[in-house]
Symmetry: C2
Subunit: 332 residues, 2 copies
């Protein structure tokens, strides 16, 4: 698998250097770390929000640092939890008297990191709360895991918590609405081809030319089952049925939909999927209040997509619509 790199082991630091240079009005890198922070952090009087995790999911998470979303994004090596030292540096840099919310994707390494960070914060007298996102409905089918994985739905939690904090919400208010959104978000994905890590010559798994992998995660893990390549309509319905069963809807409910590209799937195909999502939800009486179509939480060069549904109420709609200014969020 050809990649545009210099030295594979420098891919993450060079990428982060590129990001902060490209968006130097909005974000900066904390010296000696891989923590990307708002240029104007700490933002006095506002709850700070810190998220992050392994790299390879770009634009997550550094692309969502900025007014109305995150104050800091931690970046580990590819698919690896960030180091505690970076997390501590970000915490010290961004924390305000209003406190700090951590938004955590549900993986063992990330949870461990943020648990340690919470303890350190307590020692420093910084009030914190944590929200764990575990939106992947595929994973319930697998035993021996630490629970459902956090996937693309996480970016919607960034948006909602970030908006509430930007509007002056207290730590408890920001936590409560982020928790509500996390409990109302569901995702499921499919891969057409695996990803390959920088410096590796082997993909993370192999698929035949007519095979797809349903229920994949965002770290090159294999999914829950393999099927033959099938029409977009059939595939979309299959994912949506699994999502809808997991958090039942009533006719008249409103949702945000995210059709997320895994890294190498063209936008043309994502919009074809969205067209099917809309048709299917319409047939169930579910209204799409907001649609996001594009690459929001990728898995390096994996081909495929995930569908995320977030159930909405008046508060979540207001927060989704609240303006934000980050390197990669399309405000439309």
């Amino acid at each position: 698998m050809k990649k545009i790199l210099n030295v594979p082991q420098n891919a993450v630091p060079e990428m982060l250097a590129g990001m902060v240079k490209a968006h130097s009005g909005l974000i900066t890198l904390l010296s000696g770390t891989q923590a990307v922070v708002r240029k104007d952090a700490p933002v006095k009087g506002k709850v700070a929000i810190i998220s992050g995790g392994g790299s390879g999911h770009e634009p997550a998470h550094a692309g969502y640092v900025g007014r109305g979303m995150l104050d800091a994004a931690l970046a580990g090596a590819v698919f690896a939890a960030p180091p505690l030292d970076d997390a501590l540096a970000a915490l010290k840099h961004c924390a305000t008297e209003q406190g700090v919310l951590f938004i955590i994707k549900n993986y063992t390494g990330d949870r461990l990191l943020f648990d340690m960070l919470s303890e350190e914060a307590e020692d420093m007298g910084i009030p914190t709360r944590s929200v764990v996102v575990a939106d992947d409905v595929a994973i319930a089918e697998r035993e021996g895991t630490p629970g459902r994985r956090g996937v693309a739905g996480t970016v919607l939690i960034h948006k909602i918590a970030g908006a509430r904090a930007d509007l002056g919400g207290s730590l408890e208010e920001v936590y409560q609405v982020a928790q509500k959104a996390a409990s109302w978000v569901r995702s499921m994905g499919v891969a057409l081809s695996p990803c390959t890590l920088p410096g590796s010559t082997q993909p993370s798994f192999t698929l035949d030319e007519d095979q797809i992998e349903i229920g994949i995660g965002i770290h090159g893990e294999a999914g829950v089952r393999r099927e033959k390549l099938q029409p977009a309509r059939e595939l979309t319905q299959k994912l949506l049925e699994k999502i809808l069963v997991d958090l039942p809807y009533q006719a008249g409910d409103e949702v945000a939909v995210l059709v997320n590209g895994m890294g190498s799937t063209p936008l043309m195909e994502l919009y074809i999927v969205f067209n099917e999502v809309e048709t299917f939800l319409h047939s169930k009486g579910i209204t799409i209040y907001k649609a996001l179509v594009g690459e929001y939480m990728t898995s390096l060069d994996m081909a495929g997509f995930s569908i995320t549904l977030l159930k909405l109420d008046a508060e979540l709609k207001e927060l989704l619509d609240h303006p934000c200014l980050t390197p990669c969020w399309v405000q439309s």
Copy 2:
């Protein structure tokens, strides 16, 4: 090459249906056509701007329809010029008394279409001007072509012309600034792997596992030469040197840079390239005023990237910064 489709020949109409559903507050499809227009068109008192071309370049062009950019985007079949009937419908729908600017990528089919459209407009008494974008510096090396190709730089012309029109510019003013920007924009691209058209089983060309193709276009055309895969730094410098020779710069000049993904290249790699672009331009005393990194003008599932430089003056800087509201332009 696996694709997420229903029936290949319906890929474009289904994609367009998905786009207008996803962004129904901003854009709509003119009935019976593949022309995507601003929902509030015609916009009284404003010069209208129409662009477009073959599909397969998403988010170009429909993703750039909205306030501050295009009034209409025409979409042909994949890599094929749009039909005249659609262009006429868009013209009739969007034209105002202030007139219409056409922004045309330099391909025989697109030029022919817009020539016919201009004649029809004249018959209808609608004042029009046309700007042809031909930013690809690779093509000067090839004989027997209709001149340089219009590639990713075209989206910067959309932005600039759209902003001037949004600010109340006359047709002559919008035309003049778009023409200036078109004369100051240069691009060059490289492919790591070719694209495959929907319904086709064969890619548009073939490359060995250690080969890249320099000087590729956006329609699956082969480039100007093949080389071995090389570090991002070397490759970036090679493209930039060709661009800089073509439109010489002085130390102190300011530019906008677009590092554009061709469709299946991860954002991580695009930011690594941008990091090299910044280092190289900095060494030449050239300042980056604005950076865009992402997929702006793709070629289906081609892997690779292009670099675009646009020389800036005070007017172009103001217009690049002018707010816009479209489905896919990141306003940051």
